[in-house]
Structures are given as C-alpha cells and as structure tokens.
C-alpha cells in the first residue's frame, strides 16, 4: 500500500509545489491538501479540503483518510504579509492542532516533515559564522515570527519525544530565492536600488526554491529523521548579492530603522525586523548534516541568486512565462470523481 499524505497550506507556494511533486511519485496513493484558500497551482489528483486548521477537522481528516504522512509546510515566515496575530494563529495554533490530531489514539501517522526556518537562530553580533543544528541562538527572539517558530519547534520536539514510532524530520530553510517565489528579501532585490545599512556588509546564504522542495521530498522518501539546516553552499556579502543583481546599494542609517520602517513600508520598501537584523549581521548555517544524509544541492548560494535574477530579467521583458491558474471547484471535482472521466490505472 502506498503513502497517504496530508499537505498543510496547499494554497501557499510550498504546499502547492510539494503536492505537485508528490503527484509524480507512484508510491503515493492519496494526497489530501488543506488550506483556507483555493490552490494556486494546477493539481491532478490532490484532494483539496477547504478548512482552517482546527483540531476537530484535522483529527477527522487524519482518521478518515488514514493519513500516514504529514507534510507541514504551512508556517508563516514573512511578517510583512500578515499581522502578528495571524502569524500566531497559523504557526502556533495550527501546529498545535495538527500534532494533537496526529497523536490521537489509534493514529495512523508514521512520518512527519515540518518546514521550519533558520529564522529560529536569529541574527545578532554574537552569532557564529555557521550555525549548526545544535547551536543555541545568541539572543532571545524579539519578533513575532521568530517567537512563533520557536514555539512550533517546541511542539514538534514534544511530538517526536511522545511518539517514538513516528519518523519526524524538521527542516530549517535559509533565505529562499528562485524564479517563482516572492519573499520580502526578493522584493528588496527587485527594487531599482537595493537597501543596505550604512557600514554593514553582512554575509547572506540562500537556498533555491527547487532545492527546498527536493529536500522535503528527499527526507519524506528516505524516511530521514532529525533536524536539518537546508541552505546552499557559501556566504555572499550583501554588496555582492546586489552586484550579481546588477544593482547599487543605497545605505540606510544603521540606527533608528525601527522608526523608519513604517513610513518606508508605505513607500513600497518593506523591511521587516527579521530582514533588518539580517542586513546588519547576516546569518550562515552549516548544511553538512543533510549532505551527510545523502542529499545533494543543485544550487550554491551564488548560483541561487544568479538563477533568481535571470528569471527576474525575463519576467521584466516578456511578463509572466507561465499562464495563471484559477481553481474551479466543479471542474476539479469532475476530473477527479465523475464516472464519465476515464482515468489511467482504473
């Protein structure tokens, strides 16, 4: 019998990408995708359930669909996109409910992958050049995103301890860039001049969106267990990142940015506290543990930036290269369930 997978956050970039990749995997029998919003990518056999992540619904889905694998991609990491209250609801409450449902008596869940972020390490002057998975963060978290992610990791750890029969993998992703994903960092690099902090040229690490999805699938298929950093090789100074993008940096004052960030946000320059900390101190994480587990990256940090900027140039010249996708409930239901449709494998 093949895998029966639950993907959280199907409408998000990651949920959609992971579901697409899982559809191509013949060992996966069932994919159930959960989100409050409709999927944004075309899916062939993923079952979309419109729902929030409340405990009772999750527990019923896990039980009814005999879910054995959970891919938890629905964690907010960008505080410019939503209020801190929403972030708390999504990250902390959503994760708590999910793991409560997964550990219900008689649960069939045996494999869990969580998409966390290297934001949990923070960014401060006291940081080592490379964070290993065991390095503790140097300063307590100040922003809501970081606090909520630390709480999420706490729930994941508790679940792993309480359920030793379940393979739990937690992946901490570095700054993601790529042709398709939009992050606040990507937006900063799309500006005509790239913001920086005067007198600071910290080193950044990037991971390509393709390597993110590949890493999630790799740990899923290999039933790899543990905590892993996922980040491309190498650290680049921010000035070099701007240079690869063919742009100049504009230095912002290194003090008082907390007050300036709100008016700058109105002008289209979104600088969340996490990005400001990165622009001051940067962050590097040691990616060797996942490599030792057998994973191979396709992109280095510099290669990721180049691929990002090439996609940016073509988008600017010819517009979107892939047509937009609109989820139509009735059409999707027809293709999946109507007896009129002849499906392969029937």
């Amino acid at each position: 019998m093949g895998k029966r997978v639950l993907v959280t956050g199907l409408a998000t970039f990651w949920g959609g990408r992971v579901a697409q990749a899982l559809e191509a995997d013949p060992t996966v029998d069932v994919i159930v995708g959960l989100d409050r919003y409709e999927p944004t990518v075309e899916l062939e056999r993923t079952e979309y359930v419109r729902s929030d992540e409340s405990y009772s619904i999750l527990a019923r889905i896990v039980k009814a669909a005999r879910i054995d694998t959970i891919v938890h991609t629905f964690l907010a990491v960008d505080s410019t996109q939503m209020s801190s209250r929403t972030i708390h609801e999504i990250n902390v409450i959503g994760t708590m409910n999910l793991f409560a449902a997964a550990s219900a008596p008689g649960s069939t869940v045996r494999n869990v992958v969580v998409k966390s972020s290297t934001l949990v390490y923070g960014a401060s002057a006291k940081d080592p050049v490379w964070f290993s998975e065991e390095t503790r963060r140097a300063e307590p978290p100040r922003s809501m995103v970081e606090r909520s992610l630390l709480e999420v990791e706490g729930y994941v750890r508790d679940f792993a301890v309480d359920n030793p029969h379940v393979t739990v993998a937690m992946l901490r992703f570095s700054n993601v860039l790529g042709p398709d994903i939009t992050t606040s960092l990507a937006k900063a690099l799309e500006l005509p001049v790239v913001p920086s902090l005067f007198g600071f040229d910290p080193r950044f690490q990037f991971v390509h969106e393709i390597d993110v999805v590949r890493a999630i699938l790799y740990v899923l298929q290999g039933r790899v267990q543990g905590i892993y950093n996922v980040a491309g090789d190498g650290l680049l100074p921010w000035s070099e990142v701007a240079a690869i993008c063919g742009k100049r940096t504009i230095p912002l004052p290194p003090i008082g940015m907390g007050l300036l960030s709100a008016p700058l946000g109105r002008l289209g320059l979104e600088l969340p506290p996490e990005l400001l900390a990165l622009l001051r101190h940067g962050r590097g994480v040691d990616n060797r543990r996942l490599k030792q587990a057998g994973f191979e990256y396709r992109f280095t940090s510099a290669g990721t930036v180049v691929d990002f900027v090439e996609a940016l140039r073509i988008r600017r010249t010819v517009g979107e290269t892939t047509p937009g996708y609109q989820y139509e409930r009735d059409v999707e239901q027809f293709f999946r369930h109507s007896p009129a449709v002849i499906r392969e494998g029937d």
Binding site: R17, Q20, A21, E23, A24, D25, T27, A125, K126, P128, V129, W130, F131, R157, A160, V168, A169, M170, L197, F198, G199, F200, D201, R203, I210, V213, R214, L217, Y218, Q221, G222, R223, V224, Q225, G226, D233, G234, L235, L236, P237, S239, E240, A243, P254, H281, R289, Q292, A293, G294, F295, E296, Y297, R298, F299, T300, A302, G303, V306, D307, T321
Partner: protein
C-alpha cells in the same frame, strides 16, 4: 531526534537539472524534483561568485591593501622584533594566546602581520562582538581577518581547517587598563581558550608582547560616556591629550614579541566537556608564564621608544 540514516531515494534521474528541463512542463518538473544520490555522476555545482570574500568575511584584496598601509608602521614606527618565531608551527592548527593592551590595541595587528609576512601563514584574530556591532569598523575588521570569538568559530578554524587563531583571553579588561596598571595581566576569562584548544586537539602557544601598553596609554576613563555610548570603556588617552584629533594614532613605542614554548594538552579531542579544574589550572599556568615573560622582557628594556 537523532541524526538519521538515509535510505534510497525513489526515482532515477540525472541530478543536474537544467533550466530547459525545468521549463518542460509540470510532469517532468515534478519528477526532476526528486533527488538521486549518485555521487560518481555529480559534477561541481556552478558557484558564480563576484567578490573574493570568503566564509570568514576575509577578502585577499582588502588584506593586500591593509598590508601595504600597515607594513611601514610595522617596520619603521613600532620596529617590531620577534623572539622565538620558530616555535610557531609551519602547519597545523594552533591557538596563539597573548596579553592585550592599549586603548586601541597595537598588539593584534603586530602579531598578525608579523606571522603572515615572516612565516607566510594566515592568522585569524578572534575578537569580541563589540567589533561586529560598529558600522564600518566591524566590516573592515572581518575583511582583514577578524572573526568573532565564538567556540563554534574557533573549533572550525582550529580543528577542521587547521589554522592559526589568535586570542586575547583578557579581552576588554586588558585593553581597558590605565597606564598605572600596565603589564599587570587581568583575569584570563573563564579559561574558555584552554577548553577550545582541548576540544580542537591543538596546542596553545603563549605570546608576550611589550610596547603595546605605551603605544596608546589610557590616562583616565569616563564611565558615564562609556555607558552612554554602550562601549566597554571610554578612554582618555595620552595620544588624545598630545595630538587632539590625531589621538587615534599610536605612539612610536618599540614592540617586542616573545613566543613561548607551546603547551600541549594530553587529552582526547572532541569531548563534550573537560575537567573544570584542569582547565583553570592550565589557564592559570599559561597566564603565569606570560606574566613572567613580560617581567623578564621589561627587566631588559632600556627605553620605551628604542627597546
């Protein structure tokens, strides 16, 4: 959650996906996302770097410029002289431990420049995070070879990369001494440098420096200004009194550097912890050796300026 054992991945496909492949449509993209561990087929990843800044933040270009500026100061201003330079190994990791002095210490660049030019080995200066917090200064410091003194950084440098690292266990307690307290070594931290050398399996090489104290002596310290600016100390130096705004320049004190015998610890590397008493004993002994060497060098010194 313990580190894992990989099992095999499911699909077979060359691990080098190109952009063309990615554009072929949804189906092939999805398959291409699945990794295949076939080490023999994997080529080098493209790493299109533009600058020469390495993982530690050093840039050989900037270091070249810094050497050209500092070289004349090293030779003609401080007229640095070494004793026992041959005790520094030509290869393998070692932790250099020295006394620290002067409001803006002249000892760190003298030791780093000397070893780099005379032995041709890079030295990584481990420093307090105060450097990283200062705009411009922090960036320059890391470009020329400074690294934050963090146990993870020191371990990677010493154990994995077998480099020379320089540390001043007195920290800002050493550089914040007033002129009246010169050449009186402060506490050597909590002995962290011994612990990291034990973990990394490298010797500690004690170094005694004479002259840095007189290059920028502190006459008086302002605790109020230090608190206001968030600095460990705010010094009024003899240089400021004498030259006003040029007070950032060092006085031309003669610098003598003596390298002492390397200290090897017969302990197993990579242990999670070592005996606290052993660490404190070793730390105290190394401090004692440097202190005695300093007294010895001061006994021989005839002039602050001519040595």
């Amino acid at each position: 959650m313990a580190p894992p054992k990989p099992t095999k991945a499911a699909t077979r496909r060359s691990p080098t996906t190109t952009k063309a492949e990615r554009a072929d449509g949804a189906a092939s993209r999805s398959v291409a996302l699945v990794p295949v561990p076939k080490p023999d087929e994997v080529g080098e990843l493209a790493d299109p770097r533009r600058s020469d800044v390495d993982e530690w933040g050093r840039s050989e270009h900037m270091r070249g410029i810094a050497r050209q500026i500092y070289g004349p100061l090293y030779r003609s201003w401080h007229r640095v002289e070494w004793e026992g330079l041959d005790k520094i190994p030509a290869e393998g990791g070692a932790l250099l431990v020295s006394n620290h002095a002067g409001a803006i210490p002249a000892d760190a660049p003298a030791i780093m420049h000397g070893i780099e030019t005379e032995l041709g080995r890079s030295v990584y200066g481990l420093a307090d995070e105060i450097f990283k917090q200062l705009p411009v200064v922090g960036t320059m410091w890391s470009r020329v070879g400074g690294v934050l003194a963090h146990p993870d950084n020191a371990y990677r440098l010493l154990r994995e990369q077998q480099q020379l690292a320089l540390v001043f266990p007195e920290g800002t307690k050493g550089t914040g001494k007033t002129y009246g307290e010169r050449y009186q070594l402060r506490r050597f931290g909590r002995g962290g440098f011994v612990q990291i050398a034990m973990r990394a399996g490298v010797p500690v090489i004690p170094i005694a420096v004479v002259g840095a104290e007189e290059a920028m002596p502190i006459l008086w310290k302002s605790p109020q200004l230090a608190k206001l600016l968030g600095l460990p100390y705010f010094p009024i130096t003899a240089n400021m009194v004498a030259f006003g705004p040029l007070g950032l320049l060092h006085l031309p004190a003669k610098i003598r550097i003596r390298v002492l015998d390397p200290v090897h610890f017969d302990v197993e590397p990579d242990q999670p912890r070592y005996s606290r008493s052993r660490i404190m004993d070793e730390s105290e002994q190394i401090r004692q050796q440097i202190q005695e060497a300093l007294y010895d060098m001061l006994r021989m010194r005839q002039s602050v300026w001519f040595g």
